[in-house]
């Protein structure tokens, strides 16, 4: 899957980001499923708002982590897009 940094990712409308206090982990919940996230995953998904491009998301995180994480952002969102949890990329 070839993904452009110009693409504007959107969370599947049936999925929502939540926090599982029992496991102490952020979690993506959707019909009949749940994906436990790490803090990086949450940081990415919190920036997925249907307005920011992948490039803009990466810029925010590059600044936050003082490193170029663009490739990681693309890989992560591509992985979720293959599971149809991220749309429009």
């Amino acid at each position: 899957m070839e993904v452009s940094t110009e693409a504007v990712p959107k969370l599947w409308k049936l999925a929502r980001l939540d926090y599982d206090a029992v496991r102490g982990r952020p979690v993506l919940l959707y019909p009949e499923g749940a994906v436990l996230l790490n803090d990086t995953g949450r940081a990415i998904l919190e920036l997925v708002d249907g307005r920011r491009t992948i490039g803009q998301i990466a810029t925010v995180l590059n600044e936050r982590y003082q490193a170029d994480v663009t490739a990681d952002v693309i890989e992560y969102l591509t992985h979720l897009a293959e599971r149809e949890l991220i749309r429009d990329i």
């Binding site: 409308k13 049936l14 029992v22 919940l29 019909p31 009949e32």
Partner: protein
């Protein structure tokens, strides 16, 4: 003891149901209304389930809408942070109830469809139901729930799979679960009449693959080959007592909805024990954890970490011992009985319909 935490609880709130589908996953011996646990029991159990790690709750049955406390239970679940699915026939979903459920925070509704052909659909359901199901689907869309359609597939409807998919598309489903019949309980009773031919399964697989691609992005379609037509068994919900638990209407806690048929096990009840104890300590939940219970050919098989020997309920129902390899597995010495069952389909399709004992037959 286990370090595993369950993610999913299927709450079978009742066995009462207006439909009589001959493949129902409820046991042959069903719980009557008087044997059902009450509202406060269910609320306590949901709280305990969340504390144990459950994230997904199925409000199921029978037909869960026959429970008048459904809205209260849905609200309690939402308050705990559970993601809830109402698993319904659609019958009984009036506008007033649908609105109350939405206000209670219910997120996802799954409606069953029997076929795209009305006459066949109602013959399967054993009752006039298509019109009410369509109305329920329209309400679910209008009120903005996440919306799934579930279709159990078998010989009488597999040839219309394309039309079934398109019907789900027209009804506006976000997800479509195409579930091939699994032969437990009522479905095992009716196996020779539900069993598709090999040709039907091959064609259905092609239709499903094409539909998955065509609807991608609009409607998510799930299609899993029926296990009888596979070489290896299904990993039962990631293994016995690992991710999944079911509570039957009378409060018994099961690792799988088919487990009550394993008559060699006793399933503890939420009336007597905490859910935590039942999950961690109860003999039934520990019976098939790990692999020390396995017999050959599973015990030394490299696939034992992939499919965990398959389905314990199926092993018990078909071979008489839950410790045996699921006979669906081509490595099972008893695989022959599966191939015989595939070849042994019968006409005409006179089903034994699902009924509570003593209930008048309405078919």
């Amino acid at each position: 003891m286990t370090s595993e935490r369950p993610t999913t609880l299927l709450a079978e709130l009742t066995h009462r149901c207006p439909l009589h589908c001959p493949y129902c996953s409820n046991p042959l011996e069903m719980v009557r209304a008087g044997g059902e646990i009450g509202t406060e029991d269910w609320k306590r159990v949901f709280t305990e389930a969340r504390a144990l790690g459950v994230l997904q709750l199925g409000l199921s049955g029978g037909e869960p809408l026959v429970r008048k406390d459904l809205e209260e239970l849905a609200a309690h679940a939402r308050g705990l942070g559970l993601y809830s699915t109402l698993v319904t026939s659609g019958l009984g979903l009036t506008r007033a109830r649908a609105e109350r459920l939405r206000d209670a925070g219910l997120e996802h509704v799954q409606i069953s469809i029997q076929d795209a052909d009305t006459a066949v659909a109602e013959r399967i359901a054993g009752v006039a139901s298509v019109k009410q199901k369509r109305a329920a689907a329209a309400l679910v869309k209008e009120l903005g729930f996440a919306f799934s359609i579930n279709v159990v597939l078998h010989r009488a409807n597999l040839d219309r799979l394309g039309a079934i998919v398109d019907l789900a598309g027209e009804l506006g489903a976000d997800r479509l679960e195409l579930a091939n019949t699994q032969y437990y309980g009522w479905a095992l009773e009716n196996r020779s009449k539900l069993m598709p031919t090999r040709e039907q399964v091959t064609r259905a697989q092609e239709v499903a693959q094409e539909a998955i691609a065509r609807y991608r992005g609009r409607m998510q379609i799930l299609f899993v080959l029926p296990d009888y037509f596979e070489q290896y068994p299904k990993p039962c919900y990631g293994g016995w007592g690992k991710l999944y638990l079911v509570i039957s209407p009378d409060g018994r806690v099961l690792p799988c909805h088919g487990a009550t048929q394993i008559s060699t096990l006793t399933f503890d009840n939420v009336r007597d024990h905490s859910l935590d104890w039942i999950w961690q300590e109860s003999p039934a939940f520990n019976a098939f954890r790990g692999d020390s219970w396995m017999r050959e050919p599973c015990r030394t098989c490299p696939r034992k970490t992939v499919d965990f020997g398959g389905c314990r309920c199926q092993a018990f129902a078909l071979t008489g011992a839950a410790e045996n390899t699921d006979p669906v597995c081509i490595l099972s010495p008893e695989r022959g009985m599966i191939d015989e069952a595939i070849e042994g389909h019968e006409e005409p399709l006179e089903y034994r319909y699902r009924t509570l004992a003593g209930e008048p037959q309405r078919v």
